[in-house]
Symmetry: C2
Subunit: 345 residues, 2 copies
C-alpha cells in the first residue's frame, strides 16, 4: 500500500551528484578546493556543549546583521536558510499557489522542476537564446502562463553566462510575480565586472536574491544560505513558512564569522578563477569550449574525450596537486554539458 500524494507517485525525485568517497574535490556541486580561513575555524573550535544543548536563535539575528552590513542593507532584508535549497523551497511555499506554474528558463538547474513537481505545480520553461541569454519577452511569457514565481540562476548554470543587473531589472519590472535570482556561483564572477545586484532589492518590490555559503565560503558541509529581498518578501518566510529553528547554532556562528572575514574567502576566489581560466585553455585544446570572458566557462562536448568517460571523469592537470572532476550534465538541446570549476586533491 502506498500513502504518497498522487503528484509524488509520478515523480522520480532529485538525485544529488555522486559523493566520491576518496578525498577529492567534488566539482559538479562546486565545492571550494580550500578550507575556510583560520579565523572561521577558531569560531568552530569555540562551539561548546553549552551552545549545543540550547536552542539556536530562531531568526539568526547576528548572522543576518552581518549579512546586512556586507550588502549595505538592514537585517529585515535578510533571511538565513538551511542551504540555498531551503530558500528555493520557501519561495515556492510562500509565493506560489500549488497548481500555479513556476517560471523557469530552459536549460537551467535541474532541481527547479523537481521542486515544482513536489509542490504540485507545472513549469513554464522559456527556452534561452543561442547565446544563453533570456529572450526579451521571457517575463511576458511567464505572465501569460500565470506564473506567480520565477527563478533565474545567475551566472547561468550550466553555461556560466552572467546576466547584467540592468537585464535582470528589466525582467523583474516586466514580471507580475516574484523573481528569485539564484546567485549560487556569484562569488566566482570577476570582480572587475563590478556586478552588484543588491540594489535590485531596494529598487524593486519583487526581487529575491539567493546566496549560499557552500561554495564561496567553503562551508558546503554546514548547509547555510541566505535570501536577500525587500522586507515584505522576507517577513512571511521568516515568521510563517520556515521551520521554527531552521538554522543550527554552528551554522549561525561559523557563517557569521565567514561573512566577517570575506577578504580571506576572496583569496580562494582569485585562485579558483585563475585555475578556471588555465583549465579552460587546456580543455579547449581537446574539446569545443565556449567561455564567456570573466565568467564561468561552459564546455560543450563529449566528456568521454576527457578521460575515463561516464558521468564523472577524472582529469589530472599539469600541477600535481590539482585534479579536476567533471560531471556530465544532460541539457535538453546539447548532447552533454560539463559544469565545473577548479579543485585540489
Amino acid at each position: 500500500m502506498t500513502f504518497e500524494r498522487e503528484n509524488l507517485k509520478r515523480l522520480g525525485g532529485y538525485v544529488p551528484g555522486e559523493q566520491p568517497s576518496r578525498a577529492k574535490a567534488k566539482l559538479n556541486t562546486n565545492e571550494n578546493p580550500f578550507p575556510p580561513c583560520d579565523a572561521v575555524l577558531r569560531v568552530l573550535a569555540g562551539i561548546n556543549g553549552e551552545m549545543l544543548r540550547r536552542y539556536p536563535d530562531p531568526t539568526a539575528q547576528a548572522f543576518r546583521a552581518e549579512a546586512a552590513r556586507l550588502h549595505g542593507l538592514i537585517p529585515d532584508n535578510i533571511i538565513a536558510t538551511n542551504g540555498g535549497d531551503e530558500l528555493l523551497r520557501l519561495a515556492l511555499t510562500t509565493f506560489l499557489p500549488p497548481g500555479s506554474p513556476l517560471g523557469l528558463a530552459e536549460p537551467s538547474y535541474s532541481l527547479y522542476p523537481v521542486l515544482a513537481a513536489v509542490h504540485d505545480s507545472p513549469i513554464c520553461a522559456v527556452p534561452l537564446e543561442d547565446d544563453w541569454s533570456a529572450p526579451v519577452n521571457i517575463a511576458l511569457r511567464w505572465n501569460a502562463a500565470g506564473a506567480k514565481l520565477a527563478i533565474l540562476v545567475n551566472p547561468h548554470a550550466p553555461s556560466g553566462r552572467l546576466t547584467s543587473v540592468e537585464e535582470l531589472a528589466a525582467v523583474a519590472r516586466a514580471f507580475d510575480g516574484v523573481l528569485l535570482i539564484d546567485e549560487a556561483y556569484i562569488d566566482f564572477v570577476d570582480p572587475g565586472i563590478r556586478h552588484n545586484s543588491s540594489a535590485l532589492v531596494s529598487d524593486l518590490d519583487n526581487v529575491l536574491l539567493l546566496r549560499t555559503m557552500n561554495k564561496g565560503y567553503s562551508l558546503a558541509g554546514l548547509r547555510l544560505g541566505y535570501g536577500i529581498g525587500p522586507p515584505h518578501l522576507i517577513a512571511p518566510m521568516l515568521s510563517k513558512t520556515k521551520d521554527s529553528y531552521n538554522v543550527d547554532v554552528v551554522s549561525q556562528k561559523v557563517g557569521e564569522a565567514a561573512l566577517h572575514h570575506q577578504a580571506e574567502a576572496a583569496t580562494s576566489w582569485v585562485i579558483v578563477r585563475a585555475e578556471r581560466i588555465r583549465l579552460a585553455g587546456t580543455l579547449s585544446e581537446r574539446i569545443r569550449l565556449c567561455a564567456f570572458p570573466g565568467e564561468l566557462p561552459a564546455c560543450n562536448g563529449d566528456p568521454t574525450e576527457l578521460g575515463k568517460g561516464g558521468a564523472a571523469v577524472e582529469w589530472t592537470g599539469d600541477r600535481g596537486d590539482l585534479r579536476q572532476m567533471v560531471r556530465s550534465e544532460t541539457a535538453s538541446r546539447q548532447p552533454s554539458h560539463l559544469n565545473w570549476h577548479g579543485g585540489r586533491e
Copy 2:
C-alpha cells in the same frame, strides 16, 4: 503590494517561545540542563575545515545505521531530519494533499495547526477525554473527515499523559491514513514502564515515529531529529520531498556519536526525572497539579501564583543551582497550562 499566498495572508505564524538571553535553561522548549557527554564533544572537536568545505552525505547513512541499530531496525526504516520540525513538515508534504484535513487531538502542540495552515489544509481536531486520553473513535472521526495524515504527540503535550503502545496500535489500525506519533519527550519516560513503540513500524504499514536529539541528547543547538517508519513511508521523504542536503555534517557526526553513547545521555534522563518528581511535589503545595505516575506531570493552575506572573515566570527551588522556568500554555479548555521539566542554571 503583497505577493504572499492567500492562505498565508490569513496566518499569524508560529511564534517560538521567548529566547532568554541570560544563561538559564529554557524549559518551555525542554532544553536538557546538562551538556552532551565528553565522547560526543570529542567528535565535535574533530570537525575540521576539510569536512566543512565538502557537501555532507545527502542521506546521512552512518547516522541512520546507528539509529537503526539502536531501534533494532534497518537504515531504510530511518530518515534524518533538520530537527523534528522537518519531519512534521515532510509528513504533510508527502502524505497530505493540500485542502485535505490534518487529523489532530485537542489540545496538542500548537505548531501543528500552523503547519496545516501553511499547507493550506484544514484541521480535524478531536477533543481529548477529561483524563487526556484519546476518544476510542478518534480514528473513525479522522476517517470521516477524510484525513490522510494525523499527528498524536506521546507523551502528550501539554498534559504529559503517556498513551500505551497497544492504544496507539488500535488507533493506527482503525485509521485510513498515516499516523505520525511525535515522541519528542519519549526519552524522559520512566524506563520501568518499558514503553517501546519501535515494533509499531514493523507491525503496521501506516505508522511514523518522530524522535528528536534536542532534548534527550542535549543537542537542541544542532537541529537534528529523525523519523522511524516502514520503508515505503520513509523512501518518498528521503528521495523526493526533503531538501537534497537537509542535515549538515556536524549534526550527522555529532548525532551519530550521541546515539552511540546513549547510556551517557540516559544518566541525564534519570536526574531530570528525579528533579521533575521533586519539583512536582513542591509545586503541588502551591497549585492544583495533576501528574501521571512516571510521566511528565502537568500543572493546571494560575501561573501567577508561582511568582512573577506573565507568560514566563521564574522559580527558584530549594537547591541553589536549580532554577525553573515555566511558560503558560493556553489550552482550549483550561485557563492556563504549564509545560515544563527541570533545568539547571
